[in-house]
């Protein structure tokens, strides 16, 4: 196990390195941040000074070298706009994004698995057909549009739920989050549902496909032949088998939930990392963009590792070995 984690960490460092080169070169190709930063009336001497201060007069390779050296010391650069460390900016915004992503994931799992199992157990019932039709809608409707419609319906027409911001936050067990207050919960509901919709649809489809496959297996019939109650057959024999693909997808998709929460955060003005990255791209705030992408890569790699470990816990046939 330890060897497995070590090997995976080494692989992650390589991924991180390759990613950093691509991102660094990439952001250096688009636009000139100096244009965004200086007063349009400043003279050439002033412009040259800003370029020198930001280190943009050096070749890209040299800028990259400094970035790497600083990165090893935990410094991913300073925001051009805010003048603060990029890492600090992102970490400040991270809890908001995390709580949104986690809450969405929870919604997707809590609703998706039972609905999917139901649709798999009774494939011909009207309810199941409705569930499946709904999941196709969930897949195909663009997130930003659904977000706007949700705001129109629940916030504007019905006035039930607020449409912007994070609401009141409270600290519980050292975690500050909006899910600990009623006001915060009402704020998180719409954006979380918006973000969850796509995942919910995939979880429903996975759970249904898994159920349809597993329910035909001999071991399900054997469990019934033992006289095991149908509820236990579904809860234990079926659920544990269909959780394997579901966990894989949930784990991998959690990364994308965080990464792509940008759209939802923008629509609902959620003060998270996604909103920050959109603003930073707009302002060509290179250090923040680079730092954000690095963090996303780390999150993805870590999640992959967790999924692999979980996988072996769920499925005893998958044994993680130190040698490959």
């Amino acid at each position: 196990m330890t060897a497995f984690i070590l090997r995976r960490s080494l692989q992650s460092i390589i991924v991180l390195f390759v990613m950093s080169v691509i991102v660094f070169v990439g952001v250096n190709l688009v636009g000139d941040p100096v244009d965004m930063l200086i007063n349009p009336e400043s003279d050439q001497a002033e412009i040259d000074r800003v370029i020198r201060d930001l280190g943009l007069d050096r070749p890209v390779s040299e800028q990259y070298w400094y970035f790497v050296v600083n990165a090893f010391q935990g410094d991913l650069g300073r925001s051009f706009i805010f003048g603060e460390p990029a890492l600090k900016l992102i970490i400040q915004r991270m809890p908001a994004t995390m709580e949104l992503a986690l809450f969405s994931l929870l919604m997707a799992v809590v609703f998706g698995i039972p609905l999917g199992i139901y649709a798999g157990l009774k494939p011909n019932s009207k309810v199941s057909k409705t569930i499946m039709a709904g999941s196709i809608l969930g897949f195909s409707m663009p997130t930003f549009w659904v977000g706007i419609i949700l705001i129109m319906f629940f916030s504007v027409s019905l006035g039930w739920l607020p449409s912007t911001g994070r609401g009141e936050v409270a600290t519980y067990l050292g975690i500050t989050s909006s899910i600990f207050t009623l006001d915060g919960l009402s704020h998180i509901f719409l954006p979380a549902f918006n973000l969850a919709l796509f995942k919910l649809s995939s979880v429903i489809r996975l759970a249904r496909a898994g159920t349809r496959e597993v329910i035909l297996q001999d071991y399900i019939k054997f469990a019934r032949a033992k006289g095991v109650a149908e509820s236990r057959v579904v809860r234990v024999h079926l659920l544990k088998n269909i959780m394997i693909p579901v966990i894989t997808i949930i784990g991998l998709e959690f990364g994308s939930l965080i990464a792509f929460s940008t759209v939802t955060e923008t629509v609902f003005a959620w003060p998270g990392m996604g909103k920050l990255i959109i603003d930073s791209i707009y302002n060509l705030d290179r250090p923040v963009v680079v730092a954000y992408l690095m963090i996303i890569v780390v999150i993805f790699v870590t999640l992959n590792l967790i999924v692999d470990i979980l996988y072996s816990v769920l499925d005893p046939r998958v044994r993680i070995k130190g040698v490959s």
């Binding site: 054997f222 006289g227 088998n241 394997i244």
Partner: protein, 330 residues
């Protein structure tokens, strides 16, 4: 043997049909037989003859679109068809247990053996503690010849070989000391050497515990070794039944003869094996009259006129053929 014991299971005129888009498939069409307490009965037939569906009908686990549409399945005098789902659940695995064909598929791959055994006990006894159920499971594993059962309880199915898994299934079937075990080709997927072991152990266990056994197979040779009586099924019906010794020594139905002829035997070394001509007819388009007529070497005009009824030759011997008296002795 049969006269001495009460029948524990009496099936009469069982009909299990599958309502498919292509038409009604009469997988089991008027099957009647009995099993006495502690008796071992073989149910023989080709693939698709309806023998497994007969087994699943007894235990009430016919998958849709299949449905039991007629007949009675009397178990200890009570018709199982009349029981509610919940009552049936208490019969399954408790009074009637079943063992499946492929041991690689019958145990849930993600649950420990102990989980799968303990739940079988607790499903029928809500008072028993987990610890007691575990002890009973361990003893059951020991009984079917699994060494160090205490450790093996903690194992997962993939850590067992095929033969061992089938032993585990047998142990599970035996856990609640059922009155009847239905074994659906339990040795077909095993190596020949393991087959022999499993068969003789199964026979021994059933004799010791006085458990009745319905052994479903396509292999007459297996039946010859284990069963008291045999029922031969063809196209959803029983075409011949009788005591094993008589039936094998002197098969009366042309189909049973065909089956016997296609068993390789040491006495006929060098001779080509006889085979039954033709193929099993599609269950959706059975010929009018006797289902076997197209493959039968004794076929007469009468055979296509209507379905042959059962001829009772003696108490044990029943044959479903128009020409029983004309078919020459082997």
């Amino acid at each position: 043997m049969r006269q001495t014991v009460e029948p524990i299971l009496e099936i009469s005129d069982l009909q299990t049909h599958f309502f498919t888009k292509a038409g009604i498939l009469r997988a089991v069409d008027g099957v009647s037989f009995e099993i006495g307490a502690g008796e071992i009965v073989g149910l023989v037939g080709e693939s698709g003859s309806g023998k497994s569906i007969t087994g699943f009908s007894i235990i009430g686990l016919v998958d849709s679109p299949g449905e039991i549409i007629g007949g009675t399945i009397k178990f200890k005098g009570e018709d199982l068809n009349d029981l509610s789902n919940e009552q049936m659940q208490h019969v399954r695995g408790n009074r009637i247990a079943m063992i499946f064909q492929d041991p690689m598929m019958t145990l849930n791959p993600v649950l420990r053996i102990e989980t799968q055994m303990i739940e079988a006990i607790q499903a029928h006894d809500n008072k028993i503690s987990r610890e007691d159920a575990r002890i009973r499971s361990r003893d059951a594993l020991g009984l079917v010849g699994i060494s160090s059962p205490d450790e093996r309880l903690r194992a997962y199915p993939h850590q067992f070989s095929g033969g061992m898994r089938q032993r585990v299934s047998i142990a599970i079937a035996m856990l609640n000391r059922p009155d009847l075990i239905i074994a659906d080709e339990p040795t077909t997927a095993l190596d020949v050497t393991i087959q022999g072991q499993v068969i003789s152990e199964m026979q021994k266990l059933c004799r010791e515990t006085k458990t009745a056994l319905l052994w479903i197979t396509h292999d007459l040779a297996v039946i010859a070794g284990i069963a008291d009586r045999v029922c031969v099924m063809y196209a959803g019906r029983i075409v011949e039944q009788g005591l094993v010794a008589n039936t094998i020594a002197n098969p009366l139905h042309p189909y049973t003869r065909g089956l016997m002829g296609s068993v390789p035997s040491q006495n006929q070394r060098g001779k080509p094996l006889q085979q039954i001509n033709g193929m099993v007819p599609s269950m959706l388009s059975l010929p009018r009259g006797c289902a076997f007529q197209n493959r039968c070497s004794y076929v007469t005009e009468k055979c296509s006129s209507g379905r042959p009824d059962i001829t009772h030759l003696s108490d044990e011997r029943q044959v479903r053929c128009f020409n029983v008296s004309e078919v020459p002795k082997l």
